[in-house]
């Protein structure tokens, strides 16, 4: 069998559904793995012959080939271009993933992050040669502190969950400094999975608190759970149901009254930025996902950046490094000693996600204090517009208005044979990325939609028309259609059970090649 026919067998599958010989479908072009495009000795980079020297490796050299494929530059460029075309993206269309804040990523931010003065500087250059970089970090810190009303910020955490780890470690350090050993952390049932995972990673028992009928924390249940062994409450606000915790001041008072700390998951800060400062809500510590509220690109799953703002009570425990104004300009405090002796120490290599800091600051400066407030207002307005226009056909999880995301349950799908998953897969065929599904866990078959402020009204109207039409189609009794979706994507539903049962996590040469090599 030739290589081509072997590759095509991957692309055509059982062949029954393939309308073409190659498996390609117009602009959807099949693409083999890099490893299947290999020719020995071929390369996409021309490097000079190394000067002749006596090796200093001490004989500890690689033995045998690595097994990497050889491709030329045109092949590589075409490979990744074709792969990119199999992805949905914000640039492609509305991306209503609730809790993820998939908003427009301005290209100015990409340009400034690539300025040589930011991208081509080494983290261990003498501090005197990188004063502009420290100035950028200091300025970003000022914006974050001002927007949250908090007195301190730790910039180094690499993502939201890393920020949570930072915050919970600071809480534990503060409790230890008080000579207290508290063992429980309260987490609402509706929380992101990272919250209980973080609390458990830091050695705390996780105690979940139920939601009240209105989708918010049940204040009485919270009070009943509080006690001298509770270290903290971890709460997302606005919460994962897209609702503002209207009792938040009472919640904060109750938590503080019990001697515990109030951790806020800042994933949904986009809903209130410029309109509400977390410090005014009684929050002691909160991480901010720069890749959500401040629009650094998600990049297919990272990199993120998760600075943590801290109240006075927790600020001394912040991880190193941080920037201070010294006698000779800006300086780093890199070690947990002297004035920093209570710091939890280092959480990440170097100084944090500098490339993300540049992008986030460019985003903030572009919006300004006025634009950021408008961000929150438009995000909330867009979500409520979706909610208002969809609630006739879909079933809102809770009555009333929402914040930046609209949550529905699967009541409108009841007894139709169509699940939330089926409905979402039908949206894909209509050209939309699905909303967040089955999260938060407190709502049956949840559909969580966050349009963000960067969608136009026309874009929302088009989306609404599609969702309403699909909902009507469900009611018309066309379950089989939904169960077969998507039909028009580069791949149809993928078998996750097969993938998990006998995991194939890397390419290996086909057996015939291996035998030939033996």
């Amino acid at each position: 069998m030739s290589d081509w026919s072997q590759a095509v067998s991957h692309f055509r599958g059982d062949g029954k559904a393939s309308p073409t010989l190659s498996g390609n479908r117009g602009l959807q072009i099949e693409e083999a793995l890099l490893f299947e495009q290999h020719a020995p000795g071929r390369t996409g980079v021309d490097l000079p012959e190394p000067p002749a020297v006596t090796s200093r490796l001490g004989g500890i050299m690689r033995e045998g080939p690595i097994g990497l494929p050889g491709l030329s530059e045109p092949q590589v460029v075409r490979h990744y271009t074709r792969l990119s075309q199999k992805n949905y993206s914000i640039d492609t269309g509305l991306y209503p993933l609730g809790s993820c804040t998939m908003k427009h990523n301005p290209r100015l931010n990409e340009r400034v992050a690539r300025l040589a003065g930011f991208a081509d500087i080494h983290p261990l250059q003498p501090v005197s040669t990188v004063q502009g970089a420290l100035k950028l970090m200091d300025t970003l810190a000022h914006w974050l502190k001002t927007l949250t009303g908090m007195p301190a910020v730790a910039l180094s955490p690499g993502a939201g969950a890393h920020g949570e780890l930072c915050g919970i470690m600071c809480i534990r350090a503060a409790l230890e400094a008080r000579g207290e050993k508290r063992t429980r952390i309260l987490v609402p049932e509706s929380a992101h999975g990272t919250n209980p995972a973080t609390a458990a990673a830091c050695g705390f028992a996780v105690d979940s608190i139920p939601a009240a009928a209105d989708g918010r924390v049940d204040l009485a249940a919270l009070r009943a759970k509080l006690g001298p062994d509770v270290a903290a409450l971890m709460l997302t606000n606005p919460n994962t149901c897209g609702l503002f915790e209207r009792d938040i001041r009472e919640i904060a008072d109750a938590v503080h009254g019990a001697g515990a700390f109030f951790y806020c998951d800042g994933a949904n800060f986009n809903a209130i930025v410029g309109r509400v400062r977390p410090a005014d809500l009684g929050i002691d510590v909160m991480h901010i996902n720069l890749h959500k509220t401040f629009s650094t690109p998600h990049g297919g799953g990272g990199p993120g950046s998760g600075p943590v703002v801290l109240a006075e009570s927790l600020a001394p425990f912040a991880p190193t490094p941080w920037v201070v104004h010294g006698a000779k300009g800006l300086e780093f405090v890199e070690r947990a000693q002297g004035a920093a002796k209570r710091s939890i120490g280092r959480l990440k290599g170097n100084h944090g996600q500098m490339g993300m800091f540049v992008r986030a600051l460019a985003y903030m400066m572009s919006h300004g204090s006025d634009g950021l407030r408008q961000v929150a207002e438009d995000a909330v307005l867009n979500a409520n517009y979706l909610l208002a226009r969809l609630k006739g056909e879909l079933t809102p999880a809770f009555p009333g208005t929402c914040m930046h995301e609209a949550l529905f349950d699967d009541g409108f799908l009841k007894d139709t044979g169509v699940s939330t998953l089926d409905f979402a897969k039908a949206m894909i065929d209509e050209g939309y990325h699905p909303m967040t599904m089955y999260f938060p866990l407190v709502v049956h078959g949840a559909l969580l939609m966050e349009p963000t402020e960067t969608e136009s009204r026309d874009s929302l109207d088009a989306f609404i028309a599609v969702v309403l039409a699909l909902a009507k189609r469900v009611k018309a009794g066309d379950a089989e259609y939904f169960q077969g979706c998507p039909r028009l994507t580069p791949r149809r539903r993928l078998d996750e059970t097969v993938a998990a049962r006998k995991p194939v996590l890397r390419w290996r040469p086909p057996r015939t090649d291996r035998q030939a090599a033996d």
Binding site: Y88, G349, S369, L494, V504
Partner: protein, 448 residues
């Protein structure tokens, strides 16, 4: 504001459709005392030109590594990035997509990550690799925690040749997660005997190769000693280009490889974002942290990819997850994968040889400077110099001569007077003859 499409008329019409009179009604759940009436005390909106001008001014205050002879490494290396890398990662379909939880509309990211996992497994000589971590230091801490889970033990021995940031990050985790991290003394000559320190409580030994001070060692015997005692060997690699020339951790018997992949495809970026690498043996895969992409078939029997084994992860397992990690370094992994694809087998090997050769030339030139000696018996592209006086001040004086002359060991190992005169120096394929000559001359001047 150029990023906000709603017009005043849109807003009014939408409020009417919602059935409220003003935007304030949608914020009614906010406690009155927490309402900000006015704007935060920050500058107002600015155009692209103004923002770019302001940020360019900040950038202009930094000494750009590529504009001067630069020999700084210590875990972050300046390599040449082929032009197509940055072009391809800026395709919006990669740049502006989310984690590939919906595989039918994310096959591009998923196939790319599957290829990345394969590349990392091949380079490290391991069986499986994940889809990346935040960076090398956090990857190292996660590797230790994984070894604790695998062995049911709670004591890690950390080599004196491990990068101090990696030691510090692991120690922070040790305090709060609840395990022991035993830190060996900094070891510029790589003479430590860690095998002698392994006991029945040891979950793992963590070494770095090439070490922080540049030494290259074969850890095969240490791997055997670990295995005999029921412990794991974790090998850290923070100059990934070395994998093209140095015996792989897998060939030495490593159980986990935790590394930094920045050297492939990623700029210095003042230290982040970078790319955590994580690879292990197939039998430990269910104890791994981080995302994994696996092969499967779709409803028509065609090959495709999905995120798999997610029952290890926080969004499914919550407090029982193997790690709290969620975000990885997807776009950095893409950049690395493209760079490795361009290099190919021949290019990766040639790049490693070129780096090593440049470092050998550099070491010979610097060793000829009066008062300077090379500490290392072995190295790849970075080595340690012993100077006749404290290195920190020497580096400052070199910077004034517009030369970035390496990293004083005292910057990362303060309060160790024995290390004050040590200077870490790295060369890569970007180091020119002229750069090396300028460095040697300037160093001689500064020391004279």
């Amino acid at each position: 504001m150029r990023y906000l499409p709603l017009t005043t008329a849109d807003r009014q019409a939408m409020l009417a459709a919602i059935g409220v009179s003003s935007i304030d009604a949608l914020f009614a759940d906010v406690p009155p005392a927490a309402h900000l009436d006015g704007l935060c005390d920050l500058p107002r909106a600015q155009g692209e030109l103004e923002v770019e001008r302001a940020l360019s001014a900040m950038a202009g205050k930094n000494m750009v590594a590529g504009s001067v002879p630069s020999f700084i490494g210590a875990g972050v290396y300046r390599h040449h990035m082929p032009a197509s890398v940055d072009h391809l990662i800026q395709r919006g379909e990669f740049l502006t997509s989310y984690t590939p939880y919906q595989p039918e509309v994310a096959q591009g990211t998923l196939q790319m990550l599957f290829e990345f996992q394969t590349q990392v497994a091949l380079l490290t000589g391991m069986e499986v690799a994940n889809a990346s971590m935040y960076d090398g230091a956090t990857s190292c801490a996660e590797a230790v925690m994984m070894a604790n889970r695998v062995t049911g033990r709670k004591k890690a021995i950390l080599s004196g040749g491990l990068h101090p940031h990696y030691r510090d990050v692991t120690r922070t985790h040790a305090r709060f997660v609840g395990f022991r991290a035993k830190l060996a003394d900094p070891d510029p000559e790589a003479r430590e005997d860690l095998a002698a320190q392994i006991d029945a409580a040891t979950s793992c030994v963590v070494v770095q190769n090439p070490g922080f001070f540049g030494q290259v060692r074969d850890y095969s015997a240490l791997a055997e000693a670990c295995h005999k005692a029921g412990a794991l060997l974790i090998v850290v690699v923070n100059e990934a280009v070395s994998l093209g020339g140095v015996k792989s951790p897998g060939a030495m018997g490593a159980d986990i490889v935790a590394g930094e992949g920045q050297s492939f495809g990623n700029a210095l970026n003042f230290g982040g974002p970078h790319l955590g690498l994580f690879a292990t043996r197939e039998r430990y895969v269910r104890q791994m942290p981080g995302r994994l992409v696996g092969e499967t078939v779709d409803a028509e029997g065609r090959r495709g990819w999905v995120l798999t084994l997610s029952t290890r992860e926080q969004h499914i397992r919550r407090e029982k997850a193997t790690s709290n990690i969620c975000t990885n370094s997807g776009l950095c992994a893409l950049a690395a994968s493209i760079h490795i694809a361009l290099l190919g087998e021949a290019g990766v090997i040639r790049l490693a040889a070129l780096n090593h050769a440049k470092a050998v030339v550099l070491s010979e030139r610097l060793a000829a400077v009066p008062g300077v000696s090379v500490v290392n018996d072995t190295f790849f592209n970075e080595f340690t110099l012993r100077l006749p006086r404290p290195a920190a001040a020497v580096v400052e004086r070199l910077a004034r001569k517009k030369i970035l002359g390496g990293v004083p060991a005292s910057r990362l190992h303060p309060r160790k007077p024995a290390l004050n005169n040590l200077l870490l120096v790295a060369a890569t394929e970007t180091s020119t003859e002229a750069d090396i000559a300028a460095f040697a001359t300037a160093l001689a001047q500064v020391l004279s």
